[in-house]
Symmetry: D2
Subunit: 279 residues, 4 copies
């Protein structure tokens, strides 16, 4: 018997859970775990059902499910194949390092198919783990040209997700729109919406906060404003300067990014307007 | 339209979710939220379904649900009535105070129908909130006799739950067995199973731990071993002595106990052997 | 032998710790705990020394300390007297309730000398604890007039600190400037600087954050921008609406406010520009 | 000007802080940060002073400090040299991986001079970072013999600290006593003293706890009973099985171990009986 995950997203309606689980039952698919959420403010329905059974007639099953749902429903049957990740970096190694380590240990059900950076600093680290590194420098060329080259590199890798693992470049709308919403995942080094923009640790120092944090989010055209997947914080005090804040923050950043990637790879994250539903 | 909560507990089986949600659908009851869990180790199935609709034929609905479930299933339809709480105390006021405050502010969907203590210290506090206080002293009488009197006090109050809000008496099997499992809720001042037994803050001090915590659990005949509902911790350091550990721990105790009570009152807690399923 | 706390604040300089501890030694005052901090960015020195000994000649001791410090130094010898708190409220009871409970239990070394609110809702609660409540309604009068009346109420109470325990009024510069910096302590229901201004829980809901929090800070003329004393957060998810976010947030608010008050009452908080040093 | 750290440990006495800071002052050494602690229960005094100045006459300075302290005082002047770490492992890579990454990025002021394991699994990972790996298998030989070989490997490396990064072997008293107290640092995968001994995640699952954690501690002859340096926890729920508990726990383990190592390398940790003082 195989396990697959049914992902349903549609307008909310009476009896949706019954209708969908009925379809599963009729196709002899056992629901071994089911999470659902309906939003009050805009009446959207989200459901993630882990199914066990025989998926020979997956297409017919999906068609059946779709037929009982409101118009415009999105239904998908995810399987367990290893996803392909492309990692974008600048100079800081901790997020890339953690992803490499988790892939190396087998804790992450994914392959890193390539790392690309606007500086060459992390080339050595990628190569230690036999991951190809491509330098896409921004020096001496326009932002437009650098992004064009970066997109070519990414597109050649045929990846499922692009992880911005402390890639310290502001992305143009052209770059962002080149990818479907949900494909680009960023780690921001503050508990957004606090300290949007550049130098969040300097901002945190200047404001004298007693907690700092990190936010993993999908990338949209509004800088640091995309749907938040995961956040966490740590406590700090007056003894921290911007440099030690950054050092302490690195642990949160790598942990928050990893948790977000894990949730996305487990198909536990739905995008709901500018928010997420994370089961 | 009314909202009620269907609570299902049975042996796990193929298609249970479909069968139950189908019953709901047939009775024109919309499932607006559903959480379920099936245990791997002993194949138990737990489900909590928030239903919306007309419950005129609740009995027939429950019978229908039961008819599709494996033998021995427990099914219950919880409503939203204010539960009756009896609080047992000794001398420390913080847990009782927090429950009184939350009831006063309307944050807790419950009434405190009585407070009973083996010391008179908290009588004044209870009376401030017009809650009757009964002194059941242990002085000059046997444990057996004191417990007998306490049970009489509790039983006269006709309560849904008995909250041991820092009631510093070890309960005999007779006392514990006098109540159904799930009716007695205790707060223990350590992150169990660390520091079982007396003086956990002294134990924590002696061991030099860097975190202390609290555990809310259902009471069973094994001291400090009942099903855990909620736990939390705070960080401490070498500067804390047993007294300041206790003081810092009070905040965690009252918070953990309140969260546990809230979960129980929302019918989100199932007992599963010596553990809990908390939705 | 008596215990008192020496609080020193001045420009940083070579040998300050030695000079001050020397003064203590010469006056036969034993330093049983000492915390100090010197800021890198503006070279300020802060020290808190818990002294044990005989304080008959406290004035001479302070003069001696002052004589070895740079010009403009502030030196103070705090004692252990119970501070007088005035609490301002609107309608929400949880913060006031927690302060009343902690005072009642003796956990807080302070007396609540009065509660004043712009609504009468919490009058009953204050009176339960024999604390006088004064209604200073804003209805039918100008902001200026309401603030004038409030200041009169506060000033009559002769208090050490004014705690804004969910007092939902924006304060004018006249009101703020009427008190020395450090006397007004506010609890804000977000992890500032996120969600400055009104309705932070609605803002948090709209932004889809995965953590919410609270911030206790000294009040300055910049709304929600004063020196932060204490912050904490809790995790939330997509299931929370603005109302349940607020409910969950209340626990953090009361805890963060209490911790801030405790630190201030223990003379552990220095104001350093728009930040704090909290030992 | 140089920075060095004066570490003082002795019986508590009147005026110790003044005496020591005076010595610093007389030697033109500025105290830029000072943390001290005196224990109530056994009257020990611990102080860490960050000094800035000229250390040509360090020996004379230390002698002067010692002359003003009670008999039996331990005084040490730590410098900033990169410490040498030897890492012991079995099969799990996450702790070793994190140490390697932090060393690689320069976040840790230390060199890993060797990795030794009782299985060959992590040899490849160590070699990626050009760290020599030595296999010291336990197969086919006595415990005594295996430990003897391991001690030879460690001793040859001439290291400052031996980090047991998930080295899943119980150490004999001979092994432990071969090293000074404070040299061996272990990470235990539970919030000790809960779940002492083998399989803590299975124990946590069986007990149904709602938090799991990790503990970094110095190794003594009492298994899992040595002085605790750092602890932290994460929340879990009924959905976790022993395997997913372990996976979630790995993040806490590597973080807690790294924080402990950092604190030790910064000379912020004193051993105080079976506890620690961590500044």
């Amino acid at each position: 018997m195989e396990k697959r995950i049914l992902l349903t997203e549609c307008s909310d309606d009476m009896g949706l859970i019954a209708k969908i689980t009925n379809c599963c039952f009729n196709h002899h698919l056992n629901v071994i775990r089911q999470d659902q959420f309906a939003s009050d403010e805009d009446h959207k329905f989200f459901m993630r059902s882990v199914l066990e059974g025989d998926f020979f007639y997956a297409d017919r099953f999906l068609a059946d499910v779709k037929s009982v749902l409101p118009e415009g429903a999105k239904v998908r049957l995810a399987d367990n194949h290893r996803r392909r990740l492309c990692i974008l970096v600048t100079k800081e190694s901790h997020c890339l390092g953690e992803i490499l380590m988790k892939t190396f240990s087998g804790a992450l059900n994914a392959d890193i198919v390539g790392v690309a950076g606007n500086y060459p600093d992390l080339s050595e680290l990628a190569r230690k783990f036999n991951v190809p590194f491509t330098l896409v420098s921004h020096e001496g060329i326009t932002r437009e040209e650098q992004e064009k080259r970066m997109m070519e590199v990414i597109d050649r890798l045929d990846c499922d997700y692009v992880i911005l693992a402390k890639y310290m470049r502001i992305l143009s709308p052209e770059f962002v729109n080149h990818y479907p919403l949900g494909k680009l995942i960023n780690i921001h080094h503050s508990f957004l919406p606090a300290f949007i923009g550049a130098k969040p640790y300097q901002q945190a120092f200047d404001r004298g906060v007693k907690i700092i944090g990190a936010t993993a989010h999908f990338v949209t055209n509004n800088l640091d404003e995309g749907p938040i997947i995961e956040q966490d914080v740590i406590k700090v005090n007056h003894r921290y300067d911007p440099k030690s804040l950054a050092k302490a923050g690195h642990d949160v950043e790598q942990m928050v990014l990893m948790r977000a990637i894990s949730k996305v790879l487990d198909d536990k994250v739905f995008i709901h307007g500018n928010k997420t539903v994370v089961f």
